[in-house]
Amino acid sequence: MRKSEGSTRRRFLKFAGSAAVIGAVPVVSLRPVGATPDTMAAAIRTVVGTAAVQTGKVKLDIPPLVENGNTVPMTVSVASPMTANEYVKSIHVFNEKNPQPNVGNFYLGPRAGRAQISTRIRLADSQKIIAIARLSDGSFWSATAEVVVTLAACTEEVI
């Protein structure tokens, strides 16, 4: 008798424990449908056309975990000698889940000396960020970063 009582209690505690774990998972809030991996791919296509995008050369510095998606520091740098014959023409940054897939386009030239830009961006959700660099020889290089956002930007109510 005592034994079976204990087992139901144990079972109850086990159940309560697992419910608490489920409860700890953040509830997905309702937002207007925004950029998706597909729209991001389309936005990337409008920039690169049919060219292949290779991984490498680009370094995307962004914190992996941010508390506030309203202002996320980001630095993109590209390994390039930045000479008159070999330089980075432009850097394009895209996101996966903001209402719009573009973040910014930055046009440099051989006079930049160093292919590096910094800015602060908004992230509406935890998502993937892609930076793509167009080099003077027509090739495209990219870097990807995953960012976890605890407080989202963009879609909150205006008070």
């Binding site: 386009n105 910094s118 908004r122």
Partner: protein, 106 residues
């Protein structure tokens, strides 16, 4: 209303790679936010930023709503000659601001 903060070294040696930091105060309203009564707040962002060095464009950026309020942009250039940097921000609702900074190159 709008104000810019520019950070350019006052002096540089010829050939030095210098960092330029810019900040323009602007709300960068995304156009995706709603008021408590459910109305969409119209978009009001800066869409373009340009930097010219003695008249020649050395850096340009297209900005989107995903750029945080008070756009902060930093980039690099090679100090080639003494002169002036001209900065220009253009945005929605006829927003247009300029700023400049001088540099002495030795």
């Amino acid at each position: 209303m709008a104000s810019a903060l520019i950070n350019v070294p006052k002096k540089a040696k010829r050939g030095d790679v210098i960092e330029i930091k810019t900040l323009m105060s602007h709300i960068m309203e995304t156009g995706y936010r709603r008021t408590a009564s459910g109305e969409l707040v119209p978009r009001d962002i800066i869409t373009s930023f340009t930097c010219r060095y003695n008249g020649e464009e050395i850096f340009r950026a297209d900005l989107f709503p995903a750029i945080a309020a008070n756009p902060f942009i930093t980039f690099f250039t090679v100090a080639t000659e003494s002169g002036k940097f001209d900065f220009e921000w253009i945005g929605d609702n006829g927003f247009s601001e300029t700023a400049s900074a001088a540099i002495t190159v030795e």
